[in-house]
């Protein structure tokens, strides 16, 4: 964090905010403010340049065509890549996750280049679409509890040597490769198929991003009563439907 305010950048709400992705922005903002932090939030539309000076960048999910448009525009904009070089945190969901990788399949069925910020690449799954509640156990190094989310994707994401899975799936599809992995991360760049939105169901993920931005190992406590109630309900619901 450069000065007094946490700079939270939401990339392309006009293209990538189909699955309640605004919720991730609102929860990170709320939990930062609850800890007494000032937050400067910037919503970057797809005809605007991506600023390089953000602390946390959030990218959401979208359908196939907006995903292609977003990928095209981000490839031509050096902003996000520079921010990552500077150590900024990036958290991307679903279509946004695929864009962070080397390539994905677009709405015309063609292989399209991504940003290469994560060592992953995505293909289109042959089986049925992954739709429903998902439960996954996060990488222990992240210090997070069980993750709950909702997934809705046909894509399959393959992980290269340069990333670790974000989590191991216990209910649901995740990356869809058959190996039970969910999402990917490396240093400060994260990708996942979990929406719901993920921060609303897992507020400690929002806290993790804030801690990384502040470079601290702990934050003052925040009230988790309703989040915990929702988490318990969704984890139980996912486990009984399978």
């Amino acid at each position: 964090m450069t000065d007094s305010a946490l700079r939270l950048i939401w990339i392309y709400p006009d293209l990538l905010s189909t699955y309640g992705d605004r919720g991730n922005v609102l929860v990170v903002e709320r939990r930062a403010r609850q800890r007494g932090l000032q937050v400067e939030r910037v919503d970057v539309r797809s005809d605007q340049p991506v600023p390089t000076s953000g602390d946390i960048y959030l990218i959401g999910g979208g359908e196939d065509r907006p995903q292609r448009l977003a990928g095209e525009r981000l490839r031509q904009d050096p902003g996000l890549g520079r921010a990552v070089e500077n150590g900024a945190i990036v958290f991307a969901v679903c279509a946004g996750y695929q864009i962070l990788g080397h390539e994905f399949i677009d709405d015309r069925g063609e292989r399209t280049a991504g940003l290469g910020l994560l060592d992953v690449w995505s293909t289109r799954g042959e089986g049925k679409r992954n739709v429903g509640d998902i439960v996954a156990e996060p990488d222990p190094r992240l210090g997070l509890p069980t993750l709950t989310g909702f997934e809705n994707h046909q894509g399959v994401t393959h992980l290269g040597q340069g990333v670790s899975p974000l989590a191991q799936v216990s209910v649901g599809g995740g990356n869809g490769t058959g190996e039970g992995t969910e999402g990917a991360w490396r240093d400060t760049v994260f990708g996942t198929y979990l929406h719901g939105p993920i921060m609303a169901r897992n507020p400690l993920v929002a806290d993790l991003l804030i801690k990384l931005a502040l470079d601290v190992s702990a934050l003052p406590p925040a009230d988790n009563t309703w989040y915990d109630a929702l988490r318990a309900e969704r984890i139980a619901a996912a486990q009984t439907t399978t």
């Binding site: 905010s17 699955y19 309640g20 992705d21 539309r45 739709v131 909702f150 609303a200």
Partner: protein, 420 residues
């Protein structure tokens, strides 16, 4: 003047096979009703369609058919059009909101002496129903996100409409303020453009034609990349007036509340003008419409007035927030996530619940915990309750506004109908 809903005999123009199908359908509907499975109109139509796949075409023969489709407001607008068109002749309509081909067939099979068939159509079935019923007019009101887990992208839906309606002989009455609707309708031969407004714009920033970023100065919208822009409207909603193509303003005095219904009334006036009904006559007839399938209905619960409001998706919630009594009117929110609602509740985060700050709020329904987190983040004071009766007992003074999504709304109607 409307066709008798239980007119038993299929009309004379139907051939023997179609007659058998209608009769079989009616028998199935009767069984369904007897078994307590609702009105029976859907199951009746489904049996009939199975016997004669051509039936929808045949039951609509001889009717001047009007189709109404949209993400929001199609049930209410169908009702308004049906009411206004009665000025020109008897009307049959799928007033119960059974808006897929089976339900539509069932409703039209009861057409009796009707001259007009006013039909609400689910967005996904519009092309098919338009092909089979040979409509005279098609009203396209709006398109926005709905039921995320079904993954029917709004733009994709607009593209399907555009392809399916390209050759239609019908007059298309389309909302010029909605870029997706405009794009869908702009391939049609005869279009009447209505400036009916668009409150929720989050699905309309990306140009449906080329993917450019839409510019929206004031009421206008245009794409700087390809030049696609808002057409010049023939009819317009201005304040609480319908302005006709000659520029005459006609006052709207509805019993139905809210901006969305002023918009629906404007589209209705444009639709019925196709059949020669004067806007003044149309608007007078619309004044008689109160609740539509329970929406906007006020009921007494333990002596307290509760108004029942349906809001199924972000656009619907936005319109609903604009019509509720100001703070500190108590508000009850109920959300379910059954198949008919969409099983993904992420859309709650596209709704500006921040607008409820200052209202005492009570949350219920299957997904009350999703609502609780949403309201917590929005900074809204709320209490979680198990029933409408409990909410009513705890609510401070004033009329209670109860807003619910699809199955939660049905549940609410049942709950308030039961004496306690």
């Amino acid at each position: 003047m409307s066709a008798h809903p239980d007119s038993a005999a299929p009309s004379a123009s139907l051939n023997a096979r179609a007659k058998l199908a209608v009769t079989a359908g009616k028998a199935a509907a009767a069984v369904s009703r007897a078994a307590g499975r609702g009105s029976g109109s859907v199951i009746g139509g489904r049996v009939a369609l199975k016997l004669d796949p051509d039936l929808l075409r045949r039951v609509s023969e001889g009717l001047d058919v009007v189709l109404v489709s949209a993400t929001n407001g199609k049930t209410t607008t169908t009702r308004l059009i049906a009411e206004a068109l009665k000025a020109a002749g008897p009307v049959v309509s799928n007033a119960l909101g059974a808006n897929m081909p089976a339900g539509i067939t069932s409703a039209l099979a009861d057409s009796g002496e009707a001259r007009f068939g006013v039909i609400e159509v689910d967005e996904k079935y519009l092309n098919m129903v338009a092909r089979d019923t040979n409509p005279k007019a098609i009203a396209l009101l709006n398109l926005s996100r709905d039921q995320l887990d079904r993954s029917s992208e709004t733009r994709m839906l607009a593209e399907k409409w555009r392809e399916g309606l390209a050759g239609t002989e019908a007059v298309v009455i389309a909302n010029a303020d909605d870029p997706l609707v405009t794009w869908a309708a702009s391939s049609c031969k005869k279009v009447i453009w209505v400036a009916a407004g668009q409150a929720y714009k989050e699905d309309a920033w990306s140009c449906p034609s080329c993917g450019g970023v839409m510019q929206r100065p004031d009421e206008e919208w245009f794409c700087p990349s390809c030049g696609f822009r808002r057409p010049q409207p023939h009819w317009a909603l201005q304040g609480e007036f319908v302005v006709d193509p000659q520029g005459n303003p006609w006052p709207i005095r509805l019993q139905l509340p809210g901006r969305a219904n002023l918009s629906n009334a404007t589209s209705t006036a444009a639709v019925v003008s196709v059949f020669g009904v004067h806007p003044q006559i149309a608007l007078q007839r619309m004044e008689s419409v109160q609740a539509v399938a329970g929406r906007y209905e006020s009921v007494l619960v333990n002596g307290r007035e509760v108004r029942l409001l349906l809001a199924k998706n972000p656009a619907g919630w936005l319109e609903t927030f604009s019509l509720i009594d100001p703070a500190p009117a108590p508000v009850v929110l109920s959300v379910n996530a059954l198949s008919a609602d969409g099983t993904d509740t992420s859309w709650l985060w596209d709704v500006d619940y921040e607008r409820l700050v200052g209202h005492p709020v009570f949350v219920m329904g299957q997904r009350k915990l999703d609502l609780a987190v949403r309201l917590e983040v929005a900074g809204v004071q709320f209490q979680v309750v198990d029933s409408i009766q409990q909410a009513v007992a705890m609510a401070p003074q004033g009329r209670i506004e109860a807003i619910a999504n699809y199955t939660a709304f049905q549940q609410l109607r049942r709950d308030v109908a039961t004496p306690n």
